[in-house]
């Protein structure tokens, strides 16, 4: 048995961790009513990638099966990391259409969570660029699922948190790019209204996201820096810059668990003040920046999750439908600011429609907040959840470790359809995760 946790390091669970090296061995690991789920690179924050009894590590499957440079179509094993894909095919002029805030996720994990990026408002999520999935279902069949063939299985697997079976391989499309650089424009917004207006105005930008200062209150409530981005063309690069920036491994690392008091209301407020002022100074003009800091600002600090200390942290990411979002977001931010321990990692962005049956995105605004795992944070987040549910919103399963069944069921009205498809693929219930036990499975 092995102690395993998600990126938030809560909860920590003793699990039977297997590392199969062949698809046949994957089948053996999943069969037999153990209650197993596949795990990619462990970047889901909570309990999504921990099996009810057994966890099947897939990172050994990291091969590219085929690539067609004429079309950008690529067939991959599911354990391959997005970082590997970017480092390998970026220099050849191809990038994934959708990347989340870290590049250290597996392809299988990105499909299972139907991850979104800074372009979701106009280009959709990761699943939109997946053409087909090789799935080992809970009842032991290996099927190819696409929009045309086994389409129920396809749309249940995109965003299905690994609960339809084990994703073995996928065919997806890559985006042809001239360079690995992003033309970035920073806009400073002095409060929440300004931030939301700036995001609305950024609807036509390929990439848009806001860093939001959740320590400021009163008339500064919701002040933000909005980052808009476009892929830079070759003729927009400064002389001497290569078409593709060097992919760096994390330069800094958090070597030990920091004492949980490192982040307190004073250090967070000081950090946010500094960050906002530095960003505001860059506001207005266009800058060309490497894709790595633009898309993955935190990847440059290895093991940044240790900054929250040994007890770990919770990420709360909700989406609020556009209608009436302003008041709900203002209410949440005000409560968070008064509480004082939300971190400097608050992000606000717009989402479009999700593709999978259980995909998180819906048209509206998503707000992501980190909280150290201590004190009464669970009760506090339950209060926030009530606001989210009342507004017709929902929480992101890939970030979740603690929402209630009631919150989940209210947010995902297509759950019964998902359950019916899952049942047909896995009548005996071989595929179960800690997350499905908490939120979905019959008890």
């Amino acid at each position: 048995m092995t102690l395993v946790s998600g990126w938030g390091r809560f909860p920590v669970v003793d699990t039977d961790l297997r590392r199969p090296r062949s698809f046949a061995a994957v089948g053996e690991a999943v069969a037999g009513l153990a209650g197993a789920v596949a795990r990619g690179n462990g970047r889901a924050y909570g309990d999504a990638a921990i099996g009810a009894a057994r966890t099947v590590a897939m990172t050994g499957f990291d091969r590219v099966r085929s690539f067609d440079p004429a079309t950008g179509r690529i067939r991959l094993e599911a354990g391959l990391l997005l970082s590997d894909l970017i480092d390998t095919f970026g220099p050849r002029g191809f990038l994934p259409f959708v990347v989340p805030g870290t590049r250290f996720v597996s392809i299988g994990g990105a499909i299972a969570a139907d991850v979104h990026g800074k372009n979701h408002h106009c280009e959709g999520g990761f699943g939109r660029y997946v053409d087909s999935i090789l799935l080992r279902t809970g009842q032991g069949e290996v099927i190819e699922a696409s929009r045309e063939q086994n389409s129920d299985a396809f749309f249940a697997t995109v965003g299905g948190m690994g609960l339809t079976g084990v994703i073995l391989e996928a065919t997806m499309r890559l985006r042809p790019v001239e360079t690995g650089w992003i033309r970035e424009r920073v806009i400073s917004a002095s409060d929440l209204d300004a931030a939301m207006r700036a995001l609305d105005a950024g609807d036509s930008a390929t990439y848009s996201v806001a860093w939001i200062d959740c320590a400021s209150r009163g008339r500064d409530l919701g002040r933000s820096l909005i980052y808009l981005g476009e892929h830079a063309r070759a003729d927009e690069l400064a002389g001497g810059a290569g078409a593709f920036p060097a992919g760096r491994n994390p330069g800094l690392a958090v070597p030990v668990d920091l004492p949980s008091m490192t982040l307190n209301r004073y250090s967070i407020r000081a950090f946010n003040e500094l960050y906002y002022r530095m960003g505001a100074r860059r506001a207005g003009g266009n800058h060309v920046v490497s894709l790595y800091p633009y898309f993955f600002p935190l990847d440059s600090i290895a093991d940044w999750n240790r900054i929250y200390g040994r007890r770990g942290f919770l990420q709360h990411q909700c989406v609020i439908p556009e209608q009436g979002a302003r008041d709900v977001l203002g209410d949440i931010l005000d409560r968070v600011a008064r509480r004082g321990d939300a971190s400097f990692l608050a992000v606000l962005k717009k989402l479009g429609q999700g593709d999978g049956i259980l995909s998180f995105p819906l048209p509206g605004y998503t707000l992501a907040l980190d909280f150290p795992m201590k004190g009464d944070v669970l009760n506090f987040l339950d209060e926030i959840d009530r606001l989210v549910v009342a507004a017709g919103g929902r929480l992101y399963l890939a970030k979740d470790a603690r929402q209630s069944r009631a919150t989940f069921e209210a947010g995902y009205p297509a759950l019964s359809r998902f359950n019916a498809i899952r049942k047909s693929l896995d009548p005996a219930g071989n595929i179960r995760s800690k997350l499905s036990q908490r939120l979905i499975d019959e008890v």
Partner: protein, 246 residues
């Protein structure tokens, strides 16, 4: 025909073999993968072609079948520029103490086979006037320890072979690299208790081998910490060392 360099990886389906092949293909080498089971090499060959747009060949090679070595070398479409042996067998020390067949397999897989095949290539490279030979040995060969001396003694023999070959051949255009990886998280070490700060992932070894070939390094400890650890282990007086059961 390309004018690219070619690397031959013996033991190409191992985790270190796959990582090494990727490092060389990324640097623009064409690759020949050799292993006992050519079917398992096929997906890795496809992976290298798709990623790096290089030529990849597959060849059957069994390190215990020394009689086949001459034929293996002759059957290659071209003499490679670099040959890397990653072949090895950890085995089980306890079994090797009682089971002569198991001990023999460990010794032959880690010393006899790798030394003989690399020796064959060395003669060809010397005749041609250039070439690089890389042997993946082990820190376990630096001093025989209670917990793995059958494996360690075979690796010691392999390290000595490489060292002697290097001394003989350095003026003939042949470069010989000895690699001592230390703990690597691979299938071979799965389930073993590895010491975190002394353990690396397979791609780190692949990159280190590529660097050693390009910079003409002689002996590589993949993690520099191992050089210090093994220096201490090597210099302990035997009277003290024999009481240590690690």
């Amino acid at each position: 025909m390309t004018s690219r360099k070619t690397v031959l990886v013996l033991g190409g389906s191992s985790d270190i073999g796959r990582a090494t092949a990727r490092a060389f293909a990324k640097a623009g080498y064409d690759v020949a993968l050799a292993g006992r089971d050519v079917a398992v090499l096929e997906p890795d060959a496809a992976d290298l072609r798709a990623r790096y747009n290089v030529e990849v060949g597959i060849h059957k090679f069994d390190v215990l079948d020394t009689a086949s070595f001459d034929g293996f070398v002759d059957a290659l479409p071209a003499l490679p520029d670099v040959v890397i042996s990653i072949v090895g067998l950890l085995g089980t020390q306890e079994s090797a103490q009682e089971d002569l067949a198991h001990a023999t397999t460990i010794m032959r897989s880690n010393y006899e086979g790798p030394s003989l095949i690399l020796g064959l290539f060395a003669e060809k490279f010397l005749a041609r006037g250039n070439g690089t030979i890389v042997g993946v040995s082990s820190v376990a060969g630096d001093r025989g320890r209670a917990s793995n001396y059958v494996y360690g003694s075979a690796k010691a023999g392999f390290s000595a072979f490489l060292s002697g070959l290097r001394a003989r051949a350095s003026r003939g255009g042949l470069h010989v690299v000895t690699v001592k990886p230390g703990f690597v998280r691979t299938r071979m070490t799965e389930g073993m208790k590895l010491i975190g700060p002394l353990t690396v992932e397979a791609p780190v070894v692949g990159d280190a081998i590529l660097q050693a070939v390009e910079k003409k390094t002689d002996v590589v400890y993949v993690s520099g910490k191992w050089r210090l650890v093994m220096l201490i282990i090597k210099t302990l007086p035997e009277a003290i060392f024999k009481k240590l059961k690690f």
